[in-house]
Symmetry: C2
Subunit: 352 residues, 2 copies
DNA sequence: TTGTAAGCGTTATCAC
DNA sequence: GTGATAACGCTTACAA
């Protein structure tokens, strides 16, 4: 592997000059630059990033740490789109993207530093939910941190979040606007903001119509297809069952669809079902899901941009950026809608 | 940021000893080691990976370069599972995973070296199809390369591939075994191995039964839902249309399903449809797809392992590793089957 | 068992 | 404009 000294020697200049020339920096004669460049291509010289990083004291790279509320970043229907946005932004700025292993029992924060420690990356993005102590442990290791799709109340950790409260309200209001008066909630029984924000949004919508919240209609369960199916069965077992239900993720909505099907009932005639997230599969269920489109890629993009800014010493404000979703009306609530354009780059960036 | 010299100084030892102690290497007294470790945790010392990489001359990291036959590695239904397997293997070996930006006009191989050049990674995995010249250009830059899901005939580039020929044959045979005699092929009009291998497999199956291959039943199109739908329409327009069709990807099968639906016909009664790949969505179409399960995660895992072995100087044989898929019988061909376990590790988010 | 010293490949500072 | 030279943080002979 030729080094910059090899290039310099063959070009008859010093390494310093060769370095300047190859990076097209001012302060080197055009002729000299040309000479150096020619030698470099001749030698098939590739600058060694590691050397450069050490010398410059920065990596121009970002790390990604996955939260605990997903099995795998790559396979999770929601987060892989966030990751896609991250990749876009990072590469657009000529930063590298480093993926850390998932935290597991046995893989602690210190182990993580062997992959995304200071020096290798200029900061890390925490995607999803991670115990606050762990986040703080990461900060203590000297890394710049931005959290996506979660925030740590009571801390100063910058975050990019989605307005789940407003989103849940929007979805619930849609059902109410369709005339439903008994709307159930299949919520998430989790101890992080997503859990209570979605419940609050649901209650906001009811309250705005002056409706009472019947506790029997609220079921908190694990986030998953099976648990949501069970919860839906529970709702339909009620003496006075709901005519519509909001599930806080689309995968849970798929569970609800299954429960209805298992009873020989139909969606939306017997039960209207609305989800949240708008993942790939949501347009292909039977019937296609009415849901809230969470701007997943945009969240990833924004978070990456903020992290890069932070690593350059800038301080983006506000500390917490909140994006809002949009209602996607398909067929699972009865108000038929044509399928909208798939989620893509051009999304309105509604700060709340 | 404390360095190893800080740790050494405070522990009253030399950097060399501190280095040995912190890496739990032999040749240092237990007491000394304990002392060094204590100082390190006290100082919150995190070893700087960049320094280590430079000193050791290896990165313990792998890069991933995405091929041209996908939009995004993270969002592609097929390749994200390959990537998932890669991540698993890489992290299991304590290697880092670096994602390179997609090659585009303007992002050439040299630009790529700013992300996954020698020094930063010990080798790169090329996922999917890339022009042979580009692969060679990467090799010329001194990187170790393994290609996944494609191979470069006539070169010595190691690869992990899937037996698409055998797979297409398996799927076609399934249709023939069900009694179909006019089986169409919606193949891929592409100039890389996948294209012709799938065609060969289809013909193999027919030949094994002593059937002629009616050229009118073979349609080569772009890989995509719409093109496949159009091709299927073409087949159904024939005076003597097929009673079954094989599409070489599941996304194309979805196009075929749509075409049948658009004509007011039914699957499988009027046309049996079989796909290949078995992506996430394939179990959720209406009807669920009978398809070939390509071991995507396994391919990624194996490729990563081979690349790591290669980077350590070992030479895995054979140069090309070929994996085979398995037939997944669902309902789109009429031979009802219960849905098999999903690919990969059990996930609580498992689809219904 | 421990310390010294020489690199690894690059960039940045400063003379010239 | 260009060239020495000194870092950057770590590992590893080799010497003690």
């Amino acid at each position: 592997m030729p080094t910059i000294r090899d290039v310099a020697r063959l070009a008859g200049v010093s390494p310093a000059t060769a370095s300047l020339a190859l990076r097209a920096r001012p302060g080197v004669r055009a002729l000299t630059r040309k000479l150096v460049e020619d030698v470099a291509t001749e030698l098939r010289y590739v600058p060694n990033l590691t050397g450069r990083r050490l010398a410059r004291g920065r990596a121009d790279a970002l790390g990604v740490i996955q939260g605990l509320n997903m099995t795998t970043l790559f396979s999770d229907a929601f987060y892989r789109l966030v990751l896609s946005g991250v990749g876009e932004a990072v590469h657009a700025s000529d930063y590298s993207l480093v993926i850390a292993p998932a935290l597991r029992p046995g893989v602690g924060v210190d182990h993580l530093m062997r992959f995304v420690g200071p020096g290798t990356v200029d900061g890390v993005l925490i995607v999803g939910v991670l115990d606050p102590e762990w986040v703080l442990a990461i900060l203590e290791r000297g890394l710049t941190v931005v959290v996506v799709d979660n925030h740590l109340p009571g801390t100063k950790v910058p975050a990019v979040v989605h307005d789940y409260r407003g989103g849940a309200r929007l979805v619930t209001e849609h059902l109410l606007a369709l005339g439903h008066r008994r709307v159930g909630l299949v919520g998430a029984d989790v101890a992080y903001p997503f859990g209570w924000e979605t419940q609050d949004g649901y209650r906001d919508a009811l309250a705005a119509r002056g409706l009472d919240c019947d506790p029997a209609l609220v079921r908190l369960t694990a986030i998953g297809v099976d648990a949501a199916a069970a919860a839906t069965h529970g709702l339909l077992d009620l003496p006075d069952p709901p005519t519509a239900v909001v599930t806080v993720t689309d995968m849970m909505a798929i569970g609800a669809l299954r429960a209805v099907r298992e009873r020989g009932l139909r969606v939306p005639e017997d039960l209207a079902v609305a989800g949240m997230d708008d993942v790939e599969i949501s347009a292909h269920t039977d019937p296609p899901l009415t849901t809230l489109r969470v701007p997943k890629e945009e969240m990833g993009r924004l978070a990456a941009e903020r992290l890069m800014a932070l690593s350059r010493g800038e301080s983006p404000v506000p500390r917490i950026a909140e994006l809002s979703g949009t209602l996607i009306v398909r067929k699972s609530c009865g108000a038929a809608g044509s399928d909208p354009a798939p989620e893509g780059r051009a999304t309105s960036l509604g700060y709340a």
